[in-house]
Amino acid sequence: MSGTTIQRDRRRRQAIFRWVVLGLALLYFLVPMVSLFDFSIRFPLTGNVDLDSWAALFGGDDSGRLDMLGEGLTNSLIMAVMTVVISLALLLPTMVLVKLKSPQFSRAVEFISLLPLTIPAVVLVVGLAPIYLVISTRILDSNTIWLAFAYVILVLPFVYRSLDAGLRAIDLKTLTETARSFGASWWTIMVRVIVPNVRTAIISAVFISVALVLGEFTFARMLARTNLQTALFQINLSDGQIAAAVSLIALGGTTILLVLLDLVVGLREAARRRPEEPLAAAAPAPTPTETSAS
């Protein structure tokens, strides 16, 4: 057998292996979703297939269940935005300042930021209950969206990890000092220099925060607030099929949202990198400079 044949065989085996892995992964994700869809259209007792639950969702159901769902979804989306904004506004400047000015505190910041990971949500919520009693009676009101403050704690470890990776990847000290020496204020440095250079990290922090907030149940349930998950749970108690349909939509919606975000970022990255090829081809510089790349 010639060498090329062996190579071709190996390539084909590798291709097959890749498709098998991809197939298994897809199966792992798709089976629950297909089951969910199946559940939403098949009446459990009789096994009859109908689209009543979906019709109820899109055809306008006057039972008020969907009002609750709409409220939960709206609350969750608002809270997702609030959580993202607050956690980034809190953590990014803190981490930058600690890295630049007082690196001795970086361990403490890391510890505090990662702490929520080790505390179960149920335990957290027990501590948060009296605080929310004060918040809802004395400071703000009992609106669900104030739960975003608690969600900030919840997403802290993930936001920290993302930003930490992003900040490690750039020469923070030199970049800020350069900008300072040219006259940039700290605000300008943050907005014009640091944020653009850790954008990928910020996006990944946003992804995980949004996903976490949209999927949060424990806090909202135990503090008797209405978010997407508690609404779904409530509907499930009365009509499991509609709940399944909504879950599917929520899942799909989140996925589409994240994929869109990813695409937008990807396109912008690509646009930024694109000049590389034609320039590299036209390398010899008409200057007395060294032309060889280091």
């Binding site: 750039i170 030199t174 000092e177 020496s181 040219f182 250079n197 990198r273 000049p275 060889s292």
Partner: protein
């Protein structure tokens, strides 16, 4: 040239800065004349970078005064001082093109938009990178990145140009090229500049005056030639170039070394001393009865570096023209003659 403006004097007086128990600057004083390029040179940890950062405002000082063009700036934050810096590590903003990097700096300095394009082109031309405006830092070689950093620093027409080991990340050939270019541009524009390096060859080649630092203090400052030929201390003599320490006896400005008389520089010690003799001030003559043995002959291009062993075992380094080195053989004996060039005894 529009990039130039009238150069200003800079004065740093009695600066102190301590990091814990380490005194990075210890009563450090340095004056720069308008348009002068001064190099601070010293081993790592000698405080040279702290001095530069103190001038830039990136480092606070505990005591002392800094004036630029007669104006006290020591209380002024870095972003309000009219200086620009080229760093050792590549400092181009990675998310911006070369042109955007320079425009951003100009924008920060509140240069009107209409002027930015012209200054941008001019400063890129100055460093020979006119065609590279739309590239990103990662598409440039290290040398090119530092050229852009230099162009960016000059574009804002600062009062003072600060260079913090800008060449030390580059390979040898690019380093020499860019070094000469920095010197050319600096004198062309006539800007006051402070250059920090640990590379003595670089310092001697580029500076109007070289300041040798040790433990937070300026050990000696003078023209490169003064520093090299008339070091004021053993530290400076050792740090700059290669120096032999030859045992001798000194009295009233003359030393007796290896049976020869060598005039001494001011500030030399008396009595039993070590006389610091440069390799190029030692002449060799093949002589079977000579006092030294050739250990190594190393070819350096125009010169050869010859290692000798004296009878007492001391190793001595001599530098001779290649044509003379041909006459030497390893293991052969030579007679050693010291040129009557003033040397320092310590």
């Amino acid at each position: 040239m529009t990039l130039s403006r009238s150069a200003v004097p800079v004065s740093m007086a009695h600066l102190s800065r301590a990091f814990g128990s380490v005194r990075a600057l210890d009563d450090f004083s340095l004056d720069l004349a308008p348009g002068e390029m001064v190099c601070l040179l010293g081993p790592s940890g000698c405080g040279k970078t702290t001095a530069l950062r103190a001038l830039s405002g990136l480092e606070d000082i505990d005591a002392g005064s800094i004036t630029v063009d007669g104006v006290e700036v020591s209380g002024v934050p870095a972003n309000k001082r009219d200086m620009a810096m080229v760093f050792q590590s590549y400092s181009l903003f990675p998310h911006m093109t070369v042109a955007d990097n320079i425009s951003f700096a100009l924008e920060l300095r509140k240069v009107p938009r209409a002027e930015r394009t012209r200054i941008l082109e001019e400063s890129l031309e100055l460093v020979g990178l006119g065609a590279h405006g739309n590239r990103y830092a990662h598409q440039l070689s290290g040398g090119q990145q530092q050229r852009v950093a230099l162009a960016r620093a000059l574009a804002v027409r600062p009062q003072v140009l600060l260079l913090d080991e800008p060449l030390s990340a580059l390979d040898a050939k690019v380093r020499v090229q860019l070094r000469d270019e920095i010197r050319r541009i600096q004198s062309e524009i006539g800007i006051t500049a402070l250059f920090v390096t640990h590379d003595q060859e670089e310092a001697l080649a580029i500076a109007d005056r070289v300041g040798v630092m040790q433990e937070g203090r300026l050990e000696q400052i003078g023209t490169p030639e003064e520093i090299y030929t008339a070091p004021r201390s053993g530290f400076v003599a050792d740090f700059i170039g290669v120096t032999n320490r030859l045992a001798g006896r000194a009295a009233s400005g003359v030393a007796d070394v290896l049976g020869q008389r060598v005039p001494l520089l001011d500030g030399s010690a008396d009595g039993d001393v070590a006389v610091l003799v440069r390799p190029e001030n030692i002449e060799l003559e093949p002589d079977a009865a000579g006092s030294a043995e050739v250990v190594v002959v190393g070819f350096l291009g125009a010169h050869s570096r010859v290692q000798l062993r004296l009878q007492d075992g001391t190793l001595v380094s001599a530098q001779v023209p290649v044509s003379e080195a041909h006459a030497l053989t390893v293991g052969g004996r030579v007679a050693l003659r010291l040129r009557p060039v003033p040397a320092l005894a310590v």
